[in-house]
Symmetry: C2
Subunit: 224 residues, 2 copies
């Protein structure tokens, strides 16, 4: 659990014993949550920095009434909702829900500002964390703005391909059910479209995996 801290983006580039030393100089606390417990409700204001040291949480966008889209999963040892802490309107736009048993390190905004001022490295780290999250959400938005289901499928497949080639984390296989949710469409519609794309020779469905056959035409699909 402590190791999570040392490996976190927040303390990146700072030696373990130095991290301990720094933590002794500031108020902080650990808090635990059960699986499926809400860490924050949408609309609630965020007064603390939250660093996951055990487990994972998800952010879900909520509208005035019901859930709409899962934004993303955050895993140990990442900070979640880094931006809402410092925003003028610091009310969370999302629900934060524990995927598993969870433990977080909490540091108040006031203390956090102190920390950032005293430790240039942590400041740079925190800026990077917020900024990276911003980039991710921008990409997500780009994805949502794709109009057709084909476009989304093509985008998803090509990104996955790209990640594989860069040897980044190869994430586990998603079921069509999960994919459909990710795309914001219904499962039967997704299946239908996938089969049509297969007939057209764009992709190949094998062992519940989706293989790319015609990359060029997939790229073409994303025009609109």
């Amino acid at each position: 659990m402590k190791e999570a801290l040392y490996e976190s983006g927040l303390f990146h580039g700072i030696k373990a014993d130095k991290v301990d030393e720094i933590l002794q100089t500031i108020h902080h606390q650990y808090k635990s949550f059960q699986k499926d417990e809400y860490l924050y409700y949408s609309g609630e204001s965020c007064e603390d920095m939250n660093l996951l040291v055990e487990g994972s949480v998800r952010g879900e966008i909520v509208d005035f009434r019901g859930k709409v889209v899962k934004v993303e999963d955050i895993f140990t040892p990442d900070v979640f909702a880094p931006a809402f802490l410092f925003a003028t309107e610091n009310n969370l736009q999302v629900d934060i829900i524990a995927n598993t048993k969870v433990r977080v390190l909490r540091i108040s905004k006031r203390e956090m500002i102190e920390l950032l001022n005293r430790h240039p490295r942590i400041m740079e780290n925190y800026l990077r964390i917020i900024s990276d999250r911003f980039v991710i959400i921008t990409q997500k938005m780009k994805f949502l703005s794709l109009k057709t289901m084909r476009g989304k499928i093509a985008h998803y497949l090509l990104m996955r391909e790209k990640r594989k080639q860069q040897n980044k984390q190869i994430r586990k296989h998603k079921t069509q059910e999960q994919l459909a949710e990710y795309f914001g469409v219904t499962r039967p519609s997704l299946t239908r479209e996938l089969k049509i794309m297969e007939k057209e020779g764009l992709i190949y469905l094998q062992d519940k995996e989706i293989k790319i056959l015609d990359k060029a035409r997939l790229l073409d699909l994303m025009r609109r």
Copy 2:
């Protein structure tokens, strides 16, 4: 033009002569652009902080092929693309285009970090700027994730209402053409839906303005 600096979020809470003094200690430059000139292309890496001191720019999301969505307009005296400067993957996801004749203050990343370390107030300001932008884009995403056109119309109208009541900038009337683009639908479809909603007594179309008649039912529409 100088006044823009003093009123900017970046130097908020810092007196004008102090701003001048600070600027003398760090390298910086001013750069001008014509209307419609590209300040940055999507994919280009961002190595400088950019503070608008004259004019306005817009960010446009670009896909592998064509434009998709206008993200937002940035006006003097705001910073644009504040997150990309510090992101690990610091390639811009958007095109930045001059809406008008534009002048920007540029400070390199290295100098910027110096600045943030030396001046706690500027650091807090910069964090707030990034964070606020994050909140805006999250809201935008929330909007995009609304499935039905009715939901989007309802959301838009209710937000506009809210802004009016808070006496925030009352933006100029949008044509149906512009609204349709904003919603990502075609113009005839929007007109049709608006007329139907009018018949149902939800809204009232008068002088090209959309008036709210039944707030409660509009709220209801956003469920899905």
